[in-house]
Symmetry: C2
Subunit: 291 residues, 2 copies
């Protein structure tokens, strides 16, 4: 029995096949060009595996995941050129004729981290995964279920209290200007300083500003969900950055709500090399098969 994973991103589609222990057997990276070309390559990859029994897709968004919606399985209005209103699940399912699960990239990652914690026999019941990268997004899993009844979550598009040293920056979200994504995503380094985040030394005050916003996101998740873990991924995140986030979290919380040891509560992904979504996909594919 083999399980399939598609991590669909704006620059590449990572396709992988794994066994029942969720171990990767084979993996390829396919550049994201137009949907037709990309899907053909994806399908050809998976067609090599006769034992493939189910597949899960963790896709960039926004996507339609409500099964009762006519556009179920589509990427909807995305800024990614050529990809708006693209039926994703349809052609994959038709070509491979196996059960297909469809969710967002961040939900896939959240599920992967949740599953890994279970495999490590940690007693966690819920987990939030937030990515701080080109955009800001997140997904939550409670008792093995992905959160979101009306569609997938959009955890980056919440408002935050402005940092006192960041009152003039307008923010870069085309919808909301200074929502969390508009203030704390990777491209805000460029917008504020004219240089890429990777070139900004960690002692630059802008890191304090970003970590203040990301800590507010952690506070929001804590107050609204009381999850067992908050995992941070994405290009902006490093252990040194999370140390700043934890410090800001402690100040913002001001001993109000009891949280676990912050070093385990607010943490980096346990799956290395951005592999959380692949693992999540294997588990979600297996769950889809069991249905």
């Amino acid at each position: 029995m083999l399980l399939g994973s598609i991590e669909a991103g704006g620059t590449k589609f990572v396709c992988a096949v794994g066994n029942e222990d969720y171990r990767v057997i084979e993996k390829v990276s396919i550049p994201t060009t137009d949907p037709r070309t990309t899907f053909t390559k994806v399908i050809n990859f998976f067609k090599q595996f006769e034992d493939l029994v189910a597949l899960s897709i963790a896709s960039f968004g926004p996507i339609e995941i409500q099964k009762n919606n006519a556009l179920y399985g589509y990427i909807t209005e995305t800024p990614k050129k050529g990809w708006s209103q693209t039926n994703f699940v349809g052609p994959i399912k038709e070509a491979l004729n196996i059960p297909v699960f469809f969710t967002t990239d961040v939900n896939g990652s959240a599920y992967g981290e949740y599953v890994l914690a279970q495999l490590f026999n940690e007693k966690i019941r819920s987990l939030v995964y937030l990515t701080i990268g080109t955009g800001v997004g997140g997904g939550a899993v409670i008792d093995g279920k992905i959160v979101g009844s009306q569609g997938h979550t959009e955890m980056g598009h919440v408002r935050v209290k402005r940092h006192p040293d960041d009152l003039t920056f307008e923010g870069i979200c085309p919808f909301h200007q200074d929502c969390l994504e508009g203030l704390a995503s990777g491209p805000t380094f460029d917008a504020r300083l004219g240089i890429k985040g990777k070139d900004v030394p960690l002692n630059h005050p802008v890191w304090d500003i970003l970590s203040y916003y990301v800590a507010q996101a952690a506070i929001q998740q804590t107050m609204i969900l009381r999850p067992d873990n908050i995992v941070f991924g994405g290009g902006v995140v490093s252990e040194a950055f999370l140390e700043k986030v934890r410090r800001n979290f402690t100040e913002l919380n001001n001993k109000y709500i009891k949280v676990p040891d912050l070093n385990t509560y607010i943490r980096m992904p346990r799956v290395k090399d951005n592999g959380s979504a692949t693992l999540g996909n294997f588990a979600l594919a297996f769950k889809e098969l069991e249905k």
Copy 2:
């Protein structure tokens, strides 16, 4: 078969007994004095009913609801004089010797509204209940389960973006100053204007400020949970106020995320006279019995 409900508030304990259709058979209001006196009266009320098979408590907080915690069933550090570190479940369970469920007042209300929606055959899978009153709090129910693995939620203690006409008001939360509760709870009328909220005409600009903050809370819940319904209760809330909240929500969302018709999505409690928690308690007591 009879089910019991205790709605424990800072000024009164509303105790009720209901039948298997969750209909109230008898109800009393007991003033909140010291724990011993109050509990004695509560126990004497319930002892009248031989057919009482289970009971649920929806209490003011903070409370300990983690069963593996030594303080499970306690009201913990509350500002309410004489009630800190009070064992609530213990004496009730000992005196009545029936299954007792223990949760927060807002979780009880959330559960009541969720159950009523099910009874009305609405296809909702999740619901958030936010109360804007003396304090700000909230609870969420997803697929019949109350949200919160690390304890109960504290939805009022999130930060919000400040309203441009409200930059000088410091906020009144003793822990966080200008968190949602510190900016939008009932006592902020007094703190801002020197008069009670009920005496402030609805065309006063302060209502726009409060509704801006409450709309941000609705945005946070939407982006983080994608619930089917957000119900608002508490003394500050009226249909006219929610109309302002909906307008602010629409502006803040800026057509980003698809939500149901706002008149049903953001709404007043369906159970009248603050009865949501009583209904929720009956249902939670029944669930506890089934365990």
